[in-house]
């Protein structure tokens, strides 16, 4: 019984550090530990991990919790340790929080850094007609209350970044005969009078968003992250990353329903908010660590950056070319584009632009509305790719 009680407490501990564990899993865990026995610590560890963890990303959290809960007795690991635990739960959970990266304290810190993200007093909320006058305001010049209005307006936009035909067939007007239905009908009517057909189902394209959070983008980054959050909420398949000197995946954080929670969580995850930018390296990290998992099946990619890049332009060029080759459409959004005297002459943009399908402004609400319209009417075919100017290809034998 002691074992059961301990495992229930352990399950609760894992829940408190963010693992999604239902009672059924705890029951499996109890069953599993009983089967492998208590004589070896590593067997108990693996039995619990196999029944309680379902994601590779969760393994470090599980490890920390396991180490703290079934304290490290090294060689002295034995039956008594498992049974003796159960009381020191309060002490243990504090230990765990110290091991884990995200704590409430840091959440408060993040909020302190961004007072403008706090929800405004109700009295200051404006009607949508004021959002109308805001449409052409530069995000950077907006007051906090204007930003709040702009965000509300953003939430109302609909996003639909194109569709592609999947390889799943469903009854429809397509090219493939539906023999099963044909045959069944022929049995009822006695004749093969009509030939029902199947068509390929249409699915939405996944969207991958990269948002530059380096110093030069500071005035825009939060607004554009809000934009990314609005995208996340309107459709399921959005992958979001931020970059400056390095790349951070914030997909899960942006999944939070409330925008302030999402932005605070995202801010906590981003280690170098407002540092310099190395776009090429960030994209390379994406290709090495993430592309295989998140960039798939005809994605539409948005890169939001002013292109002020301190990295190696050759690398940037190479990685942007690779990114374009592996997606359906690569769209670069710049908050600087559209100001009167702006020319895209930064080193980064000069390197990247030949491989970008659309280069669009992201400075005002109207720009983002136009972007929504653009995405909603994206052509089904890829634009022709400039493979001939890919320096790597030119060098290849």
């Amino acid at each position: 019984m002691a074992l059961t009680a301990n495992l229930v407490v352990f399950g609760r501990l894992l829940r408190s550090v963010g693992l999604d564990i239902a009672t059924a899993e705890t029951i499996t865990a109890i069953d599993a530990v009983q089967r492998v026995g208590l004589s070896r610590r590593d067997d108990v560890y693996h039995a619990l991990r196999a029944s309680l963890v379902r994601r590779h990303d969760d393994i470090p959290v599980f490890d920390a919790a396991f180490a703290a809960f079934w304290q490290d007795h090294g060689e002295r690991w034995g039956r008594r340790d498992l049974r003796a635990i159960g009381e020191p739960r309060a002490g243990v959970s504090i230990q765990i929080e110290a091991v884990l990266p995200e704590t409430d304290a840091s959440a408060e810190e993040a909020e302190d850094e961004t007072p403008s993200d706090r929800p405004l007093p109700v009295g200051e909320l404006r009607t949508s007609s004021s959002a109308e006058t805001l449409r052409d305001h530069d995000f950077a010049d907006m007051t906090p209350s204007e930003l709040a209005d702009a965000r509300q307006a953003l939430d109302a936009l609909t996003w639909h970044p194109g569709e592609r035909r999947s390889r799943r067939w469903a009854p429809g007007d397509g090219p493939r005969l539906d023999l099963r239905r044909a045959f069944r009908r022929s049995l009822t009517t006695g004749e093969l009078l009509e030939l029902p057909r199947r068509a390929r189902r249409v699915v939405r394209r996944p969207l991958v968003v990269f948002c530059d959070v380096s110093g030069s983008m500071e005035r825009y980054a939060r607004m554009l992250l809000h934009f990314a959050h609005a995208l996340t909420r309107s459709r399921q398949r959005v992958e979001a990353f931020t970059f400056s000197t390095r790349l951070t995946r914030i997909t899960r954080e942006l999944g939070a329903r409330r925008i302030d929670d999402a932005l605070a969580a995202a801010a906590r995850r981003v280690p170098d908010w407002s540092g310099g930018t190395r776009i090429g390296e960030a994209l390379r990290a994406f290709h090495v660590h993430w592309a295989r998992y998140v960039l798939r099946r005809g994605a539409v990619v948005l890169v939001i950056s002013d292109g002020w890049d301190r990295g190696d332009p050759a690398m940037l060029r190479h990685e942007v070319a690779r990114l374009q080759r592996s997606c359906h459409r690569l769209i670069w959004l710049s908050p600087l584009l559209g100001t009167a005297d702006y020319r895209p002459l930064t080193r980064g943009l000069v390197a990247a632009l030949p491989f970008v399908d659309d280069f669009l402004p992201a400075r005002t609400l109207r720009n983002l509305e136009d972007l929504a319209r653009h995405l909603n009417t994206l052509p089904a075919r890829r634009t022709p790719r400039r493979t001939a100017v890919d320096p790597q290809k030119a060098l290849a034998p």
């Binding site: 599993a32 590779h56 099963r180």
Partner: protein, 307 residues
């Protein structure tokens, strides 16, 4: 359950898999033991080429069971995963029946939708194991299938029964041992994972990979096996677009054996690097100094482990 289709302990799993030439570390062996004992599906994730699929193969031969493999892809449907009626033969039979004088429509229907005209696909076949001899069902690369199929699979894995409207319900007498693999190209739905025992397979340690090389390419000399294994281990620490898996190590050793090499040298590496690295950018990056550095570290590692 007979002794054949089960394991007595984690050690038993390890020893019996080793006899089939599969080197399983303690964690994997524990999870396999539990999957077979508790009869829960085993969900294996890991980078490409860490030996996820071979777990199922080795498990089937260890248990003396049939291996039934279902390769997943987008659009995989019931007709290709579970069953399909053999329409061509059904139509032919229908013509014959019509030609004969008096045909009772109900009789014809019963005849045409009988077992004889049913094409059984992997999932249906996996339900037909004889008592005490559960087949091993490998659902390979489930992440390539779409959500519709996942939903169907979830239903099958909780009930181990398939219902065919024209024929009735087919339930498993002996539920299969199920192994699912995923390369994590997308997150598989939680509900499906909840039914399973989860194990993440890491790239093998130097010792483990060397043992695999010795087992699979016995003709390779000890020095060559050590050097290649050590160098591949180093290559995995370099940031590559596509890290080499165990099969790449085995391919490389085999290629070098075929070329009658008994050790690695820069020229040989240059000529054969395409066997291990599959992205052009990775091959281009692995030249000159960078490769020299990795080789140096690899040699050191080889010496350290032998010492």
């Amino acid at each position: 359950m007979t002794a054949l289709a089960s394991f007595t302990a984690v050690d038993d799993v390890q020893a019996r898999l080793a006899r089939e030439g599969y080197v399983a570390d303690r964690g994997l062996a524990t999870t396999i033991f539990l999957a077979v004992t508790l009869r829960r599906p085993l969900f294996l994730e890991g980078e490409a080429g860490v030996g996820k699929t071979s777990v199922a193969t080795a498990l089937a031969s260890t248990l003396g069971s049939d291996l039934i493999r279902l390769q997943c892809y987008e659009g995989l449907d019931v007709a290709h995963a579970v069953y399909e009626w053999d329409y061509a033969r059904q139509l032919l039979e229908l013509r014959i029946l019509e030609a004969s004088a008096d045909v009772d429509r109900d009789d014809a229907r019963r005849e045409l939708f009988s077992d004889r005209y049913l094409l059984k696909r992997p999932l249906l076949r996996s339900l037909e194991g004889a008592p005490g001899r559960p087949p091993v069902l490998l659902v390979d690369e489930i992440d390539r299938a779409d959500e519709e199929f996942e939903g169907y699979l979830l239903e099958l894995l909780s009930e181990y029964r398939v219902s065919i409207p024209e024929l009735g319900t087919i339930a498993a007498v002996e539920p299969p041992v199920v192994v699912l693999t995923s390369n994590r190209t997308r997150e598989v739905h939680d509900a499906l994972k909840r039914r399973c025992l989860y194990h993440w397979i890491e790239y093998p340690s130097f010792e483990k990979e060397l043992a695999i090389v010795r087992g699979k390419v016995p003709r390779a000399g000890e020095a060559l096996a050590r050097q290649v294994t050590a160098l591949v281990q180093e290559l995995r620490t370099a940031e590559l677009y596509k890290s080499p898996g165990i099969s790449e190590t085995l391919d490389w050793v085999s290629a070098l054996v075929a070329l009658e090499r008994d050790s690695l040298d820069p020229a040989t590496i240059d000529d054969t690097l395409g066997v291990v690295l599959k992205a052009r950018e990775d091959i281009e990056a692995m030249t000159g100094d960078r490769l020299q550095g990795l080789m140096g570290r690899a040699m050191l590692q080889g010496v350290r482990h032998s010492g």
